[in-house]
């Protein structure tokens, strides 16, 4: 007992007392925090003030007159490209793109990881190597071949085409995640399930997937953030009616039919960022846990 007690004491003392060094440390950290939050602050305050307040030089101050008009405008009235539809239809495009793309790439990554670790076959290591290689091919290199492929498949300029592109690009990463996670999953469990009479898919659904929560969260956050924020593929492979949010936001900011409505732009930018933020806040707890899983036993 004694060593335990004496071990605890210094820790307790340190966390209770506030030495000058600690105060300085917290001050510095607090300053960093403010510095990083500044852009968000600027976006937020300027999205709820009338344009006149911004143009008269009050970028940093709180609004004199609070208004949600810029948000409404950005959502449903602003000129995006040629029509005054607001960002709403493009937001929907992004949702229609990101949900199936994340779901498909995650499920296929999980299946790949399962096969590569528990049903390894001749050449499976090479295949995994190739998939990994796919992760690191720069986007720009695949643009032209991909455009040609989409054309041949009749998916050019459609949301389905974007889903396809993102799934193909996402599989490399999702496979990497799941393969490494399942490599640490005891093979004896799979063998026990085989003896119990479960087949390939049954073992996957009943034994592996229920234990894959942390890595699935990591994979989903990663894919969601990447696909939602993607601009290059969206700009390259979509038509006016299939553009994702990122491209539409760009068009909103670029379409200069008169004065630049900064407050509307700020509102639109926050809208574009909200879903990833939301996913991260809801699932972020598991993110760190998932990244750590496998590296630490237990």
């Amino acid at each position: 007992m004694m060593p335990g007690v004496s071990m605890d004491n210094p820790v307790a003392a340190r966390s209770r007392g506030f030495s000058p060094g600690r105060i300085v440390l917290y001050l510095i950290l607090g300053l960093f925090c403010l510095y990083y939050l500044l852009p968000l602050y600027v976006m937020a305050v300027n999205s709820v003030k009338p344009l006149s307040e911004i143009t008269s030089g009050g970028m940093m101050s709180l609004p004199d007159e609070w208004t949600l008009a810029p948000w409404r405008a950005a959502w449903s009235q602003a000129q995006v490209g040629v029509e005054a539809t607001g960002l709403r239809p493009y937001f929907m495009n992004s949702i229609l793109m990101v949900v199936p793309a994340v779901a498909l790439s995650t499920i296929m990554g999980a299946l790949n990881g399962y096969v590569l670790t528990k049903w390894a076959f001749r050449g499976s290591t090479v295949l995994f190597g190739l998939l990994l290689f796919g992760c690191f091919i720069p986007f720009q290199m695949v643009l032209i071949p991909m455009a040609r492929m989409l054309g041949l498949m009749g998916l050019a300029g459609s949301v389905a085409g974007l889903v396809f592109v993102h799934v193909v690009y996402g599989i490399g990463f999702s496979t990497l995640y799941f393969r490494n996670y399942y490599a640490a999953f005891p093979t004896e469990l799979v063998r026990a399930a085989q003896i119990d009479g479960a087949g390939f898919f049954r073992i996957f659904w009943r034994i592996l997937l229920p234990s894959s929560g942390p890595i699935a969260v990591v994979c989903i956050i990663w894919q969601f953030t990447n696909i939602w924020n993607d601009f290059l593929f969206g700009a390259s492979f979509s038509d006016f009616d299939s553009q994702p949010m990122t491209v539409a936001l760009n068009n909103l900011v670029q379409s200069s039919t008169g004065v630049r409505e900064y407050n509307v732009h700020f509102a639109g930018a926050i809208m574009a960022a909200l879903p990833t933020l939301l996913v991260y806040i809801v699932a972020g707890r598991f993110f760190v846990r998932g990244l750590m899983a496998g590296s630490v036993k237990g």
Binding site: L189, Q194, I195, G197, A198
Partner: protein
């Protein structure tokens, strides 16, 4: 033909042969233990029987039916793994019931069998817990329960006790033995613990380096090891093995041994043994319990001979005292009664029970007599 026949079965991974031609025939109700050091191919052979590893050549048949191409689930076997392999996401009840569910057994029947094994293994109060909330011993029971409900033709155990602490291991060993006596189901059991092998089995296959070195009852393996590996591996402390020469003694052949300090002595073999081996160099094997003090020697033996030798170390172990000396340059341990007065550095008269002595060829390491 037996109940489970392994016929000329081999296993290779590419060019690497990990199991050489193996023939074992198991009768119904037998408790066969595969024992050997790490990496000798025990698990491989067990997994081949389970159908988890393919047989490279040869065949395995259960109840006369070849298992070639038969899936593990259709072999009517159940297996207990070293790590227990309990499904972490399912409750104990779910774990036990999963296999029955996969085999299409109706719910009421599943419930009935779960209740039955829960009673048998005393895990009734654990049924709704997750494996993560169980102790090692409890997990072990659940793993057994999962195997038992299947009511298989053959139970396969792969080192089921090696993750338990020493005390629990002994308890569970007894329970497994009781269970076998009660159910009478054929069991094939892998372990690297020779004591487990000797206490549990009706027959033992001692394996080394991908070969079955000897197949026999515990008594046969213990008393009549087929080679020096089996002699040294089975029994604890292990059999003393030391060089000797067969000479013609007064009453027939004797083993001439070199004692510590340069002297030599003769140990006459039991009546009628080694008669055609005079002049040959051998390795003599005698278990510690056949090297005793005079009064501790086996009274039924007619071949007890005393030799005085220098005591190097004494190790009191409660019920016995183990005493080491040197013969032919090798450490040799004798097992004396606890109250014998003996100290290191003294000369002591050891009684060798030559009825229990075995001889090996030093080159081939095979048994010669």
């Amino acid at each position: 033909m037996g109940f489970l026949d392994i016929t000329r079965a081999t296993k290779s991974y590419g060019a690497l042969k990990v199991l050489h031609e193996t023939d074992i025939s198991v009768e119904e109700g037998e408790f066969l233990v595969l024992v050997g050091p790490s990496g000798c191919g025990k698990s491989t052979l067990l997994n081949m029987i389970a159908g988890l590893e393919e047989v490279t050549s040869g065949d395995i048949a259960i109840r006369g039916r070849s298992m070639k191409g038969v899936k593990p689930a259709d072999r009517n076997i159940a297996m207990v793994f070293q790590s227990y392999a309990l499904y972490p996401n399912m409750s104990v009840r779910g774990n036990i019931s999963f296999g029955m569910e996969m085999h299409g057994i109706a719910r009421p029947e599943r419930e009935r069998r779960i209740a039955e094994v829960a009673e048998l293994l005393q895990i009734g109060q654990l049924l709704d817990r997750k494996p993560g909330q169980l102790s090692g011993g409890q997990r072990q029971r659940v793993a057994m329960g999962r195997a038992l409900v299947r009511e298989p033709d053959v139970f396969l155990f792969d080192e089921p006790l090696s993750n338990l602490d020493a005390k629990l291991r002994v308890d569970m060993r007894t329970e497994i033995k009781k269970l076998h006596q009660k159910l009478g189901t054929t069991i094939i059991y892998v372990t690297h613990d020779q004591i487990e092998a000797l206490t549990l089995s009706t027959r033992i296959a001692v394996m080394y380096d991908g070969h079955v070195q000897q197949l026999g009852t515990p008594r046969e393996i213990y008393d009549n090891p087929a080679n020096m590996f089996v002699a040294g591996f089975m029994g604890s402390p292990s059999m003393n093995l030391f060089p000797a020469r067969v000479v013609a003694g007064r009453d027939g052949p004797a083993a001439e041994i070199v004692l510590a300090g340069g002297g030599s002595a003769q140990l006459p073999f039991a009546q009628g043994r080694m008669t055609d081996q005079v002049g040959r160099e051998i390795v003599l094997g005698i278990r510690p319990e056949a090297i005793t003090d005079r009064d501790g020697a086996d009274r039924n033996s007619r071949a007890v001979h005393e030799v005085e030798a220098l005591v190097e170390i004494t190790e009191p172990a409660g019920s016995d005292t183990f005493v080491a000396t040197q013969i032919g340059g090798r450490d040799v341990t004798g097992r004396l009664r606890a109250d014998v007065q003996v100290a290191a550095g003294q000369r002591f008269s050891f009684a060798f029970n030559m009825e229990k002595a075995v001889a090996f060829d030093p080159r081939t390491e095979r048994r010669i007599g």
